[in-house]
């Protein structure tokens, strides 16, 4: 993107800034429209589950103007702040939380190579930044100086920090199977029929997906694990003192991290931007046939990944409106006594499975030989390397 802009804008550093600006605008647009769409979808889904219609009259037949109407109401609402609240932290907490859950989208590819910063350690970056969202909640809970919000902040912090461990362990399994932490590469690794998706790769990854799902729902604080704003016990948890615009920022952060976690799930387990049937391949919509076809192929990829992400979010809404809430000690025991051991077992299982699949000790372990002898080998056998190894050398980008 930056090189593309460089030949228009004279000083190189302006091109860099412009490129960053475009990336940021695109991602912000994605997150804000997603948040708006999901508030509407949440009302419709909960309506359907509870045998009622959900919003129908706000703008047109299906009430699709409901979320802008909510946004307007929240903007118009007065932003209260308790008297002896810590002014600076109280105001800053929602933005801190939103920045953390928004920054995660930097590493998430929305199409083949359509990613704002392609990092070879994309998954690790995701886990690191996703862990920061808890700060907004802790500081928000503390700053509103009421016992209820302190309770909510304490519970949220305990839950999110403890669920980061199993989440990380579950994420390691597909990374190990795909051999790389680069999200785009993981996506390419699963191209072709849905049989190649990592979830169907072996029984261990299948089960890892479900453990990942539990930990993702818990770390995003949704459904049976939404202890922080447990209205029945803690009034509204850390959100008690927030109203109006600040409250909506907290909620945008929640929806953004829900979308981020579901997109990561679709990349790691459901083949990222590859649809169940390799239609793009058949129609020739790949880069080899030309830039426009490549662009259309990528567009189809983006549609794939966004639908998978939305399905994940809708599943979380479905959970929320059917299951009651767990108690804090039950949440932590599921994490420590069930998620972590299970994730560890799946990790070992997947490791042995891939080890055997690669032919055991006599298999093709070129991955571990150094760069230099790989180059001689490549030049000697005139470049007939399996895709994943070729990619590792970083030379050939498709």
């Amino acid at each position: 993107m930056a090189e593309f802009l460089a030949d228009y804008l004279s000083p190189p550093w302006v091109a860099e800034l412009a490129a960053a600006g475009v990336h940021c605008a695109l991602l912000l647009a994605l997150v804000l429209t997603a948040a708006a769409a999901f508030t509407w979808a949440e009302r419709k889904v909960s309506g359907r589950i509870q045998d009622r219609l959900g919003p129908t009259r706000v703008g047109g037949r299906f009430g699709w103007l409901q979320s802008p109407a909510d946004g307007l109401k929240l903007l118009a609402k007065e932003d209260l702040m308790p008297k002896d609240a810590d002014a600076m932290l109280f105001r800053l907490a929602p933005y801190l939380s939103f920045c953390a859950s928004f920054a995660v989208f930097v590493a998430l590819p929305l199409g083949d190579n359509w990613v704002s910063l392609r990092m070879s350690t994309g998954v690790f970056f995701f886990l690191a930044v996703a862990g920061l969202e808890v700060f907004g909640v802790i500081l928000g809970g503390y700053a509103s100086s009421s016992k209820w919000s302190l309770f909510g902040a304490m519970r949220e912090a305990a839950q999110v920090v403890s669920y980061e461990v199993p989440l990380a362990m579950c994420v390691v399994v597909p990374v190990m199977v795909a051999g790389t932490m680069d999200l785009v590469a993981i996506g390419e690794h699963q191209s072709g029929w849905f049989g190649n998706w990592l979830i169907f790769h072996d029984p261990f990854t299948l089960l890892t997906f479900f453990v990942y799902l539990t930990c993702a729902v818990a770390s995003v604080n949704r459904a049976p694990f939404d202890l922080a704003e447990a209205e029945s016990e803690l009034v509204a948890g850390f959100l008690t003192e927030y109203s109006g615009f600040r409250w909506s920022i907290f909620f945008m952060a929640e929806y953004a991290s829900m979308l981020a976690v579901s997109i990561l799930a679709s990349i790691l387990f459901f083949g990222g931007d590859n649809g169940p049937i390799p239609v793009a391949g058949w129609l020739g919509l790949t880069h080899r046939t030309g830039p426009l076809a490549g662009y259309l192929g990528n567009l189809l990829g983006m549609v794939n990944i966004l639908t998978k992400g939305t399905l994940g979010v809708i599943f979380m809404m479905w959970l929320r409106w059917t299951l009651p809430r767990l108690r804090i000690d039950q949440v932590l025991t599921t994490c420590l006594k069930y998620c972590i051991p299970l994730a560890a077992a799946m990790f070992v299982g997947a490791m042995l499975w891939t080890f055997v699949e690669r032919g055991g000790f006599s298999g093709d372990w070129s991955i571990f030989r150094s760069e230099s002898d790989l180059r001689e080998e490549a030049s000697a056998e005139n470049m007939d390397l399996s895709p994943s190894v070729a990619h590792e050398r970083g030379g050939l980008s498709p």
Partner: protein, 192 residues
């Protein structure tokens, strides 16, 4: 033209470095305990940003995850629980200031002196250059095991053995330390 001379990379570097230092100073100066914790978060996050600027995403993510995501959450925990009522702001007396500035000042002098004495303080490589050697996972994974994949073709054999690092044993020791700590915490828990 003068505009071209500014290498955007170094101006961002200066920006984040300034943030890190100023918030570090703010941590020392501020008396409100919770504000201190917050300033510490911002300063360590900007250090992580410096790592990203230098193209070392792995180390930057590591810094974010370990320092900001791990240690500071515990710090926030501790601060949140204790900072109730009179304990919120701890004013530092005059005497302590003098002592602090002496110790801090001397350490600062040592730091600056060593920083300036570095010989060829090459400027940070431009991002394009950093892109050629991708720090992708396998070499890093090998480095974790102590096998220096990038130095394997070292000319003289004597230095080649030196290349096998001691990272794996180091990791094992740290795991043992963790187990010992958990045990100690369990034994010392308040008998309810």
């Amino acid at each position: 033209m003068m505009l071209d001379a500014i290498n955007w990379h170094s101006c961002f570097f200066l920006l984040f470095a300034a943030i890190a230092c100023s918030f570090a100073v703010a941590v020392v100066v501020s008396s409100n305990v919770v504000r201190m914790a917050f300033y510490l978060i911002v300063s360590l996050a900007s250090v992580a940003a410096l790592f990203f600027l230098a193209g070392a995403e792995f180390v930057g993510a590591m810094q974010l995850m370990i320092y900001v995501g791990g240690t500071l959450v515990l710090l926030a925990f501790g601060v949140m629980l204790t900072a109730r009522g009179p304990l919120v702001s701890i004013p530092t007396g005059g005497g302590q200031w003098i002592l602090a500035t002496i110790v801090g000042g001397s350490l600062l002098v040592v730091l600056v002196q060593t920083a300036l004495s570095v010989g060829d303080w090459r400027g940070p490589t431009t991002p394009q250059a950093a892109a050629e050697q991708p720090a992708n996972a396998p070499p890093l994974g090998l480095a974790m095991l102590g096998v220096r994949a990038d130095q394997l073709d070292e000319s003289n054999p004597r230095r080649r053995e030196g290349m096998s690092g001691y990272l794996l044993p180091f990791e094992i020791v740290s795991v043992h330390l963790l187990v010992v700590l958990v045990g100690a915490a369990y034994l010392a828990r308040a008998k309810r």
